[in-house]
């Protein structure tokens, strides 16, 4: 399962960007991350003062439009980076008759970020039920083809994809494999330090709330706060090795409950700086 990356041309230095999965949470105002009375439309500029990157997760729920994306781009500023989740109709609720048209719409929606070179990756998060079957392999292959030209990152949530053949194919396609931290529960994709694309490594911290993970309630699933030790172990075992094999790294915290994601992201930035890694 573990793969030794075939490194032909090792990158000279790696800049790491740390942020959170989503930024417009009303409860972050209550938690003190945003000043009291901050409206959702005012959150991005405030967020951008603390972080250099965010992962847009509303793009999973609704098709992004160039107008909205451009407005967000302008709000955040030209130096700010984005990654965006792929819409659910291409990963979770696939209509065989419509999905290819949806892929075109998505690409169109992302155009402002792509043109301004502020799009670090499009995150293809596959459902937990998406096992490595023949039909799913075919769908993924066709999906990657239809999104060709966009910087892509794939997050598997079913363990069956953790095999070298999958990593080799991603490497051939220059598609980034997302490393995840999540509870140690049976069937979940393991935490790896595999780099399949020398341009980027991508890490997502979901929290380790094993009690709430399968509760069906996001507020329980992502209610977790990482300790310095847990983050330090990740830096030592995975982030440092991955940063030696990629030019850029993006790391996101998805444990959004009570703004713990923002707290952990700031914490990780501090720890990375201590290790002498280049922070974006």
């Amino acid at each position: 399962m573990e793969k030794t990356p075939k490194q032909k041309d090792p990158p000279a230095s790696c800049r790491i960007h740390v942020g959170t999965s989503g930024y417009a949470y009303a409860e972050w105002t209550d938690a003190g991350f945003y000043p009291a009375g901050t409206k959702s439309g005012q959150m991005l500029p405030l967020y951008a003062k603390q972080f250099s990157i965010t992962e847009l997760n509303y793009t999973w729920y609704r098709m992004p439009t160039p107008e909205t994306i451009e407005r967000q781009r302008q709000q955040a500023g030209s130096g700010f980076l984005f990654t965006a989740k792929l819409i659910r109709t291409l990963t979770h609720e696939i209509d065989p008759m419509k999905w290819q048209k949806e892929a075109l719409c998505y690409r169109e929606g992302m155009a402002p970020l792509l043109q301004s070179k502020q799009l670090s990756a499009v995150l293809i998060q596959l459902p937990p039920s998406f096992a490595r079957t023949q039909s799913n392999r075919t769908h993924l292959s066709v999906l990657l083809d239809s999104l060709d030209g966009l910087p892509l990152a794939v997050e598997f949530r079913h363990r069956s994809w953790a095999v070298d053949r999958v990593f080799d194919e991603l490497e051939r396609r220059q598609v980034c494999l997302v490393s995840v931290d999540e509870p140690d529960l049976p069937g979940l994709f393991p935490a790896l330090d595999v780099v399949t694309c020398p341009d980027l490594f991508y890490v997502r911290f979901h929290g380790r709330n094993d009690q709430g993970w399968r509760s069906g309630n996001m507020q329980k699933q992502f209610d977790y706060c990482y300790s310095d030790d847990q983050l330090g172990e990740w830096i030592e075992k995975r982030i440092i090795p991955m940063s030696s094999r990629a030019r850029k790294g993006v790391i996101f915290f998805n444990n959004h409950v009570r703004a713990q994601a923002a707290e952990n992201a700031l914490q990780l930035r501090r720890l990375l700086s201590k290790e002498g890694l280049e922070i974006g």
């Binding site: 417009a24 949470y25 959702s40 005012q42 509303y58 729920y61 609704r62 098709m63 507020q219």
Partner: protein
Amino acid sequence: MQSRSIIHLNVADFAVAVERQADCRLRNCPVIIAPEAAARAEVYDMSEEAYQDGVRKGMPLKTALRFCSGAKVLPPHPDRYEQAMMQCFKRVLPYSPLAEMTDQKGHIFVDVTGTSRLFGPPPDIAWRIRSAFRSEMGLDPIWSVASNKLVAKVATRLVKPSGEYIVREGEEACFLQPLPLYLVPGILPEDRKQFGEFNLSFVGQVAGLTMEQLDLIFGRRGHTLFNLVRGIDLSPVQSFCLKKKGICFDHVFGTDTGQVSVVEGVLYRLTEKIGSLLRRQRLSAKNLGLILDFSDGKRVVRQAAARPPVHDDFSLFLVAKLALERAWTRRVRIRHMSLSCNRFESRSSQLELFAESRAEKEKKEQLMGAIDRVRQRFGSGSLRMGRTFSLDSA
């Protein structure tokens, strides 16, 4: 003021969607809901396929069938749609008590402000509700999230017949700007006609006018229009408690009717049922609501207040008759009638001040008590009022 998060759910072509759930053979063909038997039947609802062929709500059925000759025509089933709405509503309530059904046509507003600590971000709640509708009821609603009802409703109109939309707080005006005026609820056809005279047909164009300019054209309505085109809407989502639904009885006429004696006979029977229940629970009605569904699919809802609150059949019937007079203003036959009471109070034990009215009240109480006892013992048909005999021959 705390920013609000309002979800609007809209099941497109609700009546057709419900009929398709009841009969899967309807899924792949155009469907028109209209009372075929009525002489001047109008389209009550239609499927997307029929809409694409040019069929519209309120269009005469004959014209509709010329546009879409292959359509399957079904009579409206208001009770079925009401039941389906209640089922939808039950799936929304776990997320917020502030949920509002504006009609029986598949529209629900949910105010999820302040619930994110419990259930997560509003778009996720909307998506979960939509998933529940899909998996448990086979209905696929359009959903939107916005900071008020007005913008949320425009958003679902925009993506109809399927999809979703999220309008972030502060982006309401930008969102509305490029849209045509007819998409904004509250801007009436007469308003649009007047705007048309000034060559204004888009929201952004009207938003360029000042309040004074709008006042000059529309008078007092100018202020409302000023807010509408800016996406300002402070109206609350009215909470709806299932328990408050109160008592409701209804009747479907075997043959659509326009006969006064038959309609009043049925109304009296419904009044008796409500009266009997009220007296058993020692309650008095403060109002009665009447719903009439006509043979052309139109529905009229009216109510009348009882002042002071009443519980005997004779007084209740007078209130119900007043509601009927208010509702029955069309020369179209009635298909379905429903009488309800949702505002009660406990029966007063206060005695009448004057001896004369006290005696009359006591007489009425005794008579009602006797009627109730006879009916309890020998069945509800054992004692009937003369006005309900007309139903036997109808």
